[in-house]
């Protein structure tokens, strides 16, 4: 078995620890004897995303994100939308997650159009939402708890009918108001938990990997690993959050 992972815009959207997600997915596949290749596609590169089993989009600086939004609208959005509709797994984090919506509005009220993959939008709030936080995944996404670190000023609003990835237990999530965190649509996982969300949330990592393996090979279950170190890292920060 083999999973082909696309790290979309990896040279530009790699702000703070996104690399940890790639390392974790790769290692957890390899430890189970499943091959894994990771390929970066950068802005203005004509390479197609067809043929990838899992697409990862990380966070970026505001300046970079605008460059990406241009590229994404130019030719990538339709391709990406088709992939998501077709059930390809996609994990998008922080500004990578914001990119999937219809627009982002900055602190001066200027709207920048985004990829328009899903019906959601982001508006710059008055305060930064920063800190360790915790949310419970919806039943559809496994139902377990996830701890992460959020650092965003944008408030994201999902259109009615779209389901958040989970419910905030402590922290802010999508907008600090409606209790939702992230987005789950088909096999698209969007979250504000920026940087290395997957290492200490090994269950979530496996859950996402399984969506791709199920689509490709019909696999229903992953071989268990010794997750002592992962679970202790989760427990340590979870205990602090109370």
């Amino acid at each position: 078995m083999e999973l082909k992972i696309c790290h979309l815009y990896g040279d530009v959207l790699n702000l703070y620890g996104d690399r940890g997600n790639i390392i974790t997915m790769k290692k957890r596949l390899e430890w189970r004897g499943i091959d894994c290749t990771v390929e970066k596609i950068n802005p203005a590169q004509s390479a197609s995303i067809a043929g990838f089993d899992l697409i990862f989009i990380g966070g970026g600086m505001e300046f970079d994100t605008r460059l990406i939004a241009d590229d994404l609208r130019a030719d990538r959005a339709a391709e990406l939308k088709a992939a998501v509709e077709d059930g390809v797994s996609l994990l998008a984090i922080c500004s990578g997650y914001q990119l999937l919506g219809s627009y982002c509005q900055d602190d001066k009220g200027v709207k920048t159009p985004m990829a328009g993959l899903v019906d959601m939008y982001t508006v710059c709030g008055s305060e930064r939402m920063t800190g360790n936080y915790k949310f419970a995944l919806g039943e559809k996404s496994g139902g377990f708890e996830v701890v992460g670190f959020e650092n965003h000023q944008g408030k994201t609003w999902l259109a009615s009918g779209l389901e958040p990835l989970g419910k905030v237990i402590c922290g802010h999530g999508n907008n600090g108001e409606d209790g939702g965190e992230g987005l789950r649509y088909k096999n698209l996982f969007g979250t504000y938990s920026y940087g290395p969300i997957l290492p200490k949330n090994a269950k979530l990592c496996d859950y996402i990997l399984l969506t791709a393996l199920e689509r490709k090979y019909g696999l229903r279950e992953l071989q268990a690993l010794d997750d002592t170190a992962e679970n202790e890292a989760f427990t340590a920060i979870n205990a602090r959050l109370g």
Binding site: D11, V12, N14, L15, Y16, G17, D18, R19, G20, I23, T24, K27, N42, M61, E62, F63, D64, L67, R128, T130, G131, N132, F149, N151, Y194, G195, P196, P199, K200, T228, A229, E230, E232, A233, T235, A236, I237
Partner: protein, 456 residues
């Protein structure tokens, strides 16, 4: 106004005295209260002091120590914020302590390390004569916001001091371009092509995109991170020529380096009293600053071989078979420390301590951008690896994914027990702590073996 100044000074001096009587540092707190009484206090106190201010992501403290050494050798009356309190509060405290109740400074010069985010307020009030920006890399994102934001802060700060001479890192696109559109006199420092073997492009690059047009830079050579001979194929923006250029690294050991530096056209052999590549950059920055402050090239060269290393920066302790502490706080700095470990010939033990308090950055995701894989490649030479700090479990997890055997990684959170273990080691111990972890471990070592308190 005058009354407020005097009152603020009295309060500040009194709070400092009380702090010291209570055996505390009192480095930032007195200044914070003084500024509440008189918000413009620093501008009053800094009026007749010629100040060299050092900011940037990595190397602030070491570069400051190098510049201080030059001032000392030149017989200048100067002071500095050696305690590491580098926000406006700590800097103000330092100025108050060195001035009379009238607000007149007893020194003619100051060497001040300044936090990047604090630069806007500090520069405007202090009106420094020389501004050094060492480099810009991703750092505590939760505190600074992203790197573009940090760079904008420094740019705004520079604009408030058109008379200052800028000493900028030629090899860092984000730093050297700070000279764009300002009237300041500029001295560039850097490392020329061929001085060190060029590295490949690192997986994570912070300055890879042209600051002027947004296209990707190409590199003639890379020294580390995004530092090197950058040029933009689109708009032509490229690395400026360095006035203080390292042209050859003749020798590098675990004690220090011998380099050849072109100093404004004069070639000098320079010995740097600290090991590792990043300290060669700090040396070049310090040379530029010393000359910009009006001292001679000879003074600069002598200072580099004679200065003592800063607090937690390659600091040595006489414990067990010898310990060396190397502060780590962001991916690039940490990668360079591990590169240094790669050049250590003998077997050693290692302590990595990760905290996530305010001084460290509450966000620890940077450890995943850091190339601990290069440490795993050395694991045959590492006798014991102990993980410590508030986020020890996350650190252990990172090392597991870097390729270490998780069962071989010991967690020891208690600093005194940690020091006990260091004392028992029969091989050198290297300690890689984040900022607040450094303070804790250092205190435990000082308690056991003696040494100076952090504010000395």
């Amino acid at each position: 106004m005058k009354l407020k100044v005097v009152l603020a000074i009295i309060v500040c001096k009194a709070l400092r005295l009380v702090s010291r009587l209570l055996h505390r540092g009192g480095t930032a707190m007195p200044g914070r209260y003084a500024l509440k009484i008189c918000p413009q206090l620093l501008s009053v106190l800094a009026k007749n002091v010629k100040t060299v201010v050092i900011t940037g992501t990595n190397g602030k403290t070491t570069c400051s120590r190098m510049v201080e050494e030059a001032f000392a050798r030149d017989g200048k009356r100067f002071f500095s914020n050696r305690s590491g309190a580098n926000l406006i509060s700590g800097i103000t405290t330092e100025f108050v302590i060195n001035s009379t109740l009238n607000g007149k400074n007893r020194c003619d010069y100051a060497v001040i390390e300044c936090d990047e985010a604090a630069s806007v307020r500090v520069f405007a009030q202090m009106q420094p004569s020389v501004i050094v920006v060492t480099n810009l890399f991703r750092d505590q994102l939760d505190r600074f916001g992203d790197l573009a934001h940090t760079r904008d802060s420094i740019k705004t700060a520079i604009k408030s001091v058109p008379t200052a001479t800028l000493c900028l890192n030629a090899d860092c696109s984000l730093t050297s371009s700070l000279a764009d559109e300002v009237p300041n006199k500029v001295l560039y420092f850097g490392m020329n092509k061929g001085a060190a073997p060029s590295k490949g492009k690192s997986e994570i690059s912070d300055g890879g995109i042209c600051v002027r047009c947004g296209h990707e830079y190409r590199y003639e050579y890379i020294n580390f991170g995004h530092l090197g001979g950058f040029y933009c194929p689109e708009c032509g923006h490229s690395r400026p020529e360095a006035d203080f250029a390292v042209v050859d690294i003749a020798q590098q050991s675990t004690e220090g380096s011998s380099i050849v530096m072109d100093m404004q056209g004069e070639r000098r052999m320079v010995s740097v009293n600290l090991p590792a590549m990043y300290n060669i950059y700090n040396a070049a920055a310090a040379c530029a600053a010393v000359c910009a402050a009006g001292m001679s090239k000879d003074t600069a060269v002598q200072a580099l071989s004679g200065f003592k290393c800063g607090f937690g920066r390659m600091e040595q302790f006489d414990i067990g078979a010898g310990a060396r502490m190397m502060l780590v706080k962001n991916p690039t700095g940490c990668n360079l420390v591990m590169e240094f470990l790669g050049n250590v010939k003998e077997r050693f033990s290692l302590v990595i301590s990760l905290n996530d308090r305010t001084g460290d950055g509450k966000d620890i995701s940077w450890i995943w951008d850091t190339d601990f894989e290069q440490l795993a490649a050395l694991s045959g030479r590492i006798k014991n690896l102990i993980v410590s700090g508030d986020r020890a479990e996350e650190m252990r997890l990172r090392l597991k994914y870097a390729g270490f055997d998780e069962n071989a990684l010991v967690i020891e959170r208690d600093c005194e027990k940690l020091v006990d273990r260091m004392a028992e080691e029969d091989c050198p111990v290297f300690i890689m702590p984040t900022y607040s972890a450094m303070l804790d471990i250092r205190q435990a070592i000082v308690k056991r073996c003696g040494g100076s308190d952090f504010w000395e």
